[in-house]
Subunit: 252 residues, 2 copies
């Protein structure tokens, strides 16, 4: 089974994923040379794979000849269960939370050493942010990330604390202070950040638990710093409770 | 270039996409035999490809051994430009529209012979629907679909009219009546449906135009039939105008 007939196939899927991964942070498109460099593949391999992916509409060719991720991959991605379960269950509650706050509303899960943003709702009056659905941000520097980190396994916490870097001058990265803050997040049941990820913004976030009480996600609200985020704690907790119950009793 | 070294690669990408396409309408997972049947591939090929895709976290193996689309594909799909441009531009306006109506809000584009739902917002009080982001519905039977069809090329209209099927007893499929309705949609600037896609629901939808006045998308509101949907025309038109202007002047 691991002979000549299967080996090329393995290689192609792995390389195609290297090509697709290269578009993280480059949604406006990549030229072939940049795509090759980011994917860590030879130019000729990249050109052949990219042409193949364009032919199958997984990638698109922009008018300026750069490559971009195509609509077909977007459609396929939305078939994933991360959407089917947590996102679909949570969306009406997130919508209610947005109604109540008119601020940026986030739903995030831990994906290894990062907070993966499953959904972001925001309106015209919400403060602009770098977060987006499908994007990843550091666990230690965001509200939802701190909640997820506070309930992560010890090895994840150790690695995050050891490698914490400053996104702004206000990001808490000192190991002792960060660990004390995570204990505080567990104790009081919410995280609060001020200008740790984006200057001029602050956040508050709470855990979403499953039927066994395990923290499976976090929801948070991000506002401009002139507004105290903890005033949104009550609707946040109501929404988190609703999502937790809906995850526990899918038919309720 | 089309020799032995590239041919296996082409085959693998195409077959992997056949496997992934099989999950359309099957987000709860597929057993291997069903996956093989839907993908139109031999069982052994399907098993090998699925194992490869699981290894790369494109697919996931559920506790009951069925396969499902994995989180990695979801993340990759959200790198697509369909999200980066239209969806990101439109989302704040859709949010405002939801605020104003508390009903299901849809953003759709034409994808060949179907309406592709780019976004769906809804709250706890909105009527349940079959639509979802990334899903496709017939052009002739939905509000946003009728708007897109009314502004589609003649060959698309001819094919849609010739192949229109009934989703409910109320779906308009008679060619003459459907064509007259499309002309009416163009004349009055909106589409209105009553129980044509889902019993008990009705919809109203308007076009979103680009800088050249071409219809590039449609937004619509779906309500329970006891509420007249055209009362939502005013906020719909305001939101469509806002999206159109933002598409035209990205920095405005």
């Amino acid at each position: 089974m691991a002979g000549r007939s299967t080996q090329p196939g393995r290689g192609v899927v792995a390389k195609a994923l290297d090509v697709l991964d290269a578009f993280d942070g480059a949604r406006d498109g990549l030229a072939l040379t940049e795509l090759s460099r980011r994917a860590g593949l030879p130019l000729s391999t990249t050109r052949r794979l990219a042409a193949d992916l364009v032919e199958h509409r997984v990638l698109e060719r922009l008018p300026d000849r750069r490559y971009a991720v195509g609509r077909r991959l977007w459609r396929l991605g939305l078939l994933a269960r991360v959407q089917g379960d947590l996102r679909d269950v949570a969306l009406p509650f997130l919508q209610d939370l947005y109604d109540a706050t008119r601020e940026n509303v986030h739903l995030a899960v831990r994906d290894g050493d990062a907070a993966l943003y499953v959904e972001r709702l925001h309106g015209r009056t919400s403060v602009p942010l770098v977060s987006r659905a499908g994007g990843r941000l550091p666990l230690h520097a965001t509200g939802v990330g701190k909640v997820l980190l506070a309930h992560a396994p010890q090895d994840v916490v150790s690695a995050a604390v050891a490698h914490a870097t400053k996104a702004t001058p206000y990001t808490i990265t000192e190991p002792g202070r960060l660990l004390r803050e995570l204990a505080e997040v567990r104790r009081r049941g919410y995280a609060r950040t001020v200008q740790e990820m984006t200057l001029g913004t602050c956040s508050v976030a709470v855990p979403v638990v499953d039927g066994d009480g395990a923290v499976v996600a976090s929801i948070g609200v991000v506002t401009a710093t002139r507004r105290e985020p903890t005033r949104h704690l009550a609707p946040l907790r109501v929404a988190a409770g609703g999502i937790s119950r809906a995850l526990h009793h899918p038919l309720a």
